[in-house]
């Protein structure tokens, strides 16, 4: 029994409140995420117009205009439909890039943790270089050289921002590899792969989930930023970044054009952050149960 600092009634209440909050956070995160996911998957059905169809007679309509829930843009295109189309594009892009990140980062992290020595040193140095180089600048260079498009964008983001996964996986896997149960398995003759898949990867699941959610938000922002700069999605594709870029010229005439894509980005990013934090708090509490 360790002495715990005297907990007053207030701090106990605070404790209980925090516990409740963390559960609420996770629930809220999951609910918001499901909403975003459903909109991304089935949003096409909710589109009231073709997001590309312009109607020059009905330009700059305000929110709530007849037939146009979120108004229209400078070409008279329906903002609601364009927002849903942008959601689909952004989610697909961030998700695919994130999967690539996860795959590269986790593989290298596991490799570095399993083979201390020069393998580890090389992996860590490479990760350092990738992380030290401003990835947005690198992305700009790549896109400018190769050209834009969904695949380029995804591959660029996917191959540039994996170090965070590598670092987390490396740190946690190293601590797992030093545990006696891994030693016991190795001494019993269990193969490297079996140890990796049986003991190490299951132990990483919780943190990988958390990083995946949080990094997803970062990728959403990166994708929008690149599109905004005109080098992400091809011009004309209804993404949030493109919509933002186009609305820039009309800020004084129709400021609401800015609000729709900006609001969508903020909402999605917050959703992923809430989900990530909720997952982190949940796995921390659950971890205490597993290893008291």
């Amino acid at each position: 029994m360790r002495p715990v600092a005297q907990a007053s009634g207030v701090s106990r209440l605070w404790d209980a409140a925090r516990r409740a909050l963390s559960v609420a956070e996770l629930a809220l995160g999951i609910a918001l995420f499901l909403l975003v996911l459903l909109l991304a998957l089935f949003g096409v059905a909710l589109q009231t117009h073709d997001p590309m169809a312009s109607d020059l007679m009905r330009r700059f309509l305000p929110f709530g205009a007849e037939g146009h829930l979120l108004g229209t843009d400078h070409m008279g295109r329906d903002m609601w439909s364009r927002m849903l189309a942008g959601l689909q594009w952004s989610m697909a892009c961030a998700f695919t890039a994130n999967v690539i990140n996860l795959f590269i980062g986790a593989t290298l992290g596991l490799l570095a943790a399993e083979r201390p020595g020069w393998t580890r040193n090389v992996v860590r140095q490479v990760a350092d270089i990738f992380q030290a180089f401003p990835s947005l600048v690198a992305a700009i260079v790549v896109v400018v050289v190769i050209g834009d498009g969904f695949v380029t964008l995804v591959l660029t983001l996917g191959f540039l921002s994996w170090p965070i996964f590598m670092r987390v996986v490396y740190a946690e896997a190293s601590s797992l590899y030093s545990r006696d149960f891994v030693k016991a398995a190795r001494l019993a003759g269990v193969s490297r792969l079996a140890v990796m898949f049986g003991h190490v990867l299951p132990g990483l699941r919780a943190s990988l989930l958390v990083i995946f959610a949080l990094h997803f938000a970062a990728l959403l922002i990166a994708e929008s930023a690149l599109s905004f700069l005109g080098i992400g999605a091809p011009l004309g594709v209804p993404t949030w970044g493109n919509s933002l870029a186009e609305s820039r010229q009309y800020v004084l005439v129709a400021p609401q054009l800015l609000l729709v894509p900006a609001g969508a980005i903020i909402f999605t990013v917050i959703t992923m952050n809430v989900l990530g934090d909720g997952l982190a708090a949940y796995s921390r509490r659950r971890g205490r149960g597993i290893e008291p």
């Binding site: 029994m1 360790r2 002495p3 715990v4 005297q6 907990a7 007053s8 009634g9 106990r12 545990r179 006696d180 149960f181 030693k183 016991a184 398995a185 190795r186 001494l187 019993a188 003759g189 269990v190 193969s191 079996a194 049986g198 003991h199 299951p202 132990g203 149960g289 597993i290 290893e291 008291p292």
Partner: protein, 566 residues
Amino acid sequence: MSAAAPLPVVEVRSLSLRMSRDRSAQEVLHEVGLRIGAGEIVGLVGESGSGKSVTALSLLRLLPAGVARYGEGARISVLGRDILAMGEAELRRMRGADVSVIFQEPMTALNPVVRIERQLCEVIRRHRGGSLQAARALSLSLLADMRIADPERAMASFPHELSGGMRQRVMIAMAFSCDPALIIADEATTALDVTVQAQVLELLRQRARAKGTSVLLITHDFGVVNETCDRVYVMYRGEVVEEGLASDIIREPKHPYTRALLSALPGRGLPRARLETVAAAMLEGGEPVVRAAPLPPRVLDDTRPPILETRGLTVRYPKPDALWGRATAPLPAVDGVSLVVRPGETLALVGESGCGKSSLLNALVGLVPHEGDVLYEGAPLRMPRSGVQMVFQDPQGSLDPRWPAWRIVTEPLTVAGRKGRAERRRLAAALFDRVGLSQDAIDRRPHEFSGGQRQRIAVARALSVQPRLLLLDEPTSALDVSVQAQILNLLMDLQDAAGLAYLFVSHDLAVVRHIADRIAIMQRGVIVETGDTATVLASPQHPYTRTLLAAVPRLETQDSLKPIRG
């Protein structure tokens, strides 16, 4: 002693305590009474969960306020003041100044990023005031009193730069720095090596005697009680079951639990006799049954070919050169060790922390590179090998917390080839049976078992592939005395049934005396003495063996108040 002094330093009467996290309040202390006279050294003995630490923490009301609920009529008075009625500010002044606490692991009690000097001076100045120079001078003299060789250097060190024994001395110096009337030492020497423990206990005792300080010594070790304490309280499941002079209780324990606890101690009765376990003793009408029926003497045939042999085994850890990452010539951690383990016998490897016994084990199983030969049944040992299995010290760390027990114990079996889930579960149930666990428990995960049960699972895993040799790395050090007795019994039973050979690494001479046929004493990477257990322990030849033996806290003294060797 001053047991009958008019004003006791501590007086606890009918202390009942419930701890509640949720609505269910569990009674952890029941009508505990405790009295410590001025200048008295009182022991509080019990196993984990007996309530000894909770009792001690209650003396300063250090338990979380909302969680601990004191029963009606409970009275705690320290230095004549009513602790339960005191305000928080008043209590805080009392802690550290009038009463100080020494904990088991000084690393957690010291701030790792602050030098010793600042930590000591801060404590002194907070409670005594005065200039920094005065505090520094006092700190230096306190450290010198603790026989720290170079106090100036210790002062300038960070906690991690000091050894465990040094850190504990710093903690004791800190505890004495404000001339407290009472010091609570909560398992303060449990984590230390025996030779260091002997020194630290002696310092604590001498210093307390010189200053007239009362000490409450919490421990699970009757040897420590015998060598240090005037009086003792024995706790069991939240109650004080026996109290009295330490020497009386050890010589003639009255309560069945005390008797059970004493007879669970290895190294007292006949070697290899079954140890009494507390649960068994308490079940059988409170009368521990003496089953020390003389066993047939084990005849060890030294002509048989050894199952394990090392020749000139040497382990060097390359010290990385700071600049180039090249290795510089290192000191060997294990230096030319030659050992022999014969089939069916137990060889104990004994030494203190840092002597190289873990390096030796790791070299045996190929986890660290080594020079010299390791032969298993006459041929070089290459792990993995089903004949050689290992059991680790801490079952908490050696079992994957995410796996159900049946998967854990059958993991080594999967190496030979795929096995179906049903077959693995059947094998697991059989293994559970062999190590004395209920077959119904194979679906549970490690955290649902107690420490002793977890170690049984670890043994079951090692047994799954029918080994002939088990490497046991301090397998009972993390366990309570009565649980240790169960595991030692299990190991001896398995050895008798299956003719297993053990290489038993330990720091505990009592355990070794009980279980080992032969013994090898290791110091600084070298085996300094080896021979059969009885001979080595009865007439140690090497000075280090003698030091080690002398440092073990004993029960077999006539007078508990005899001075400790200086």
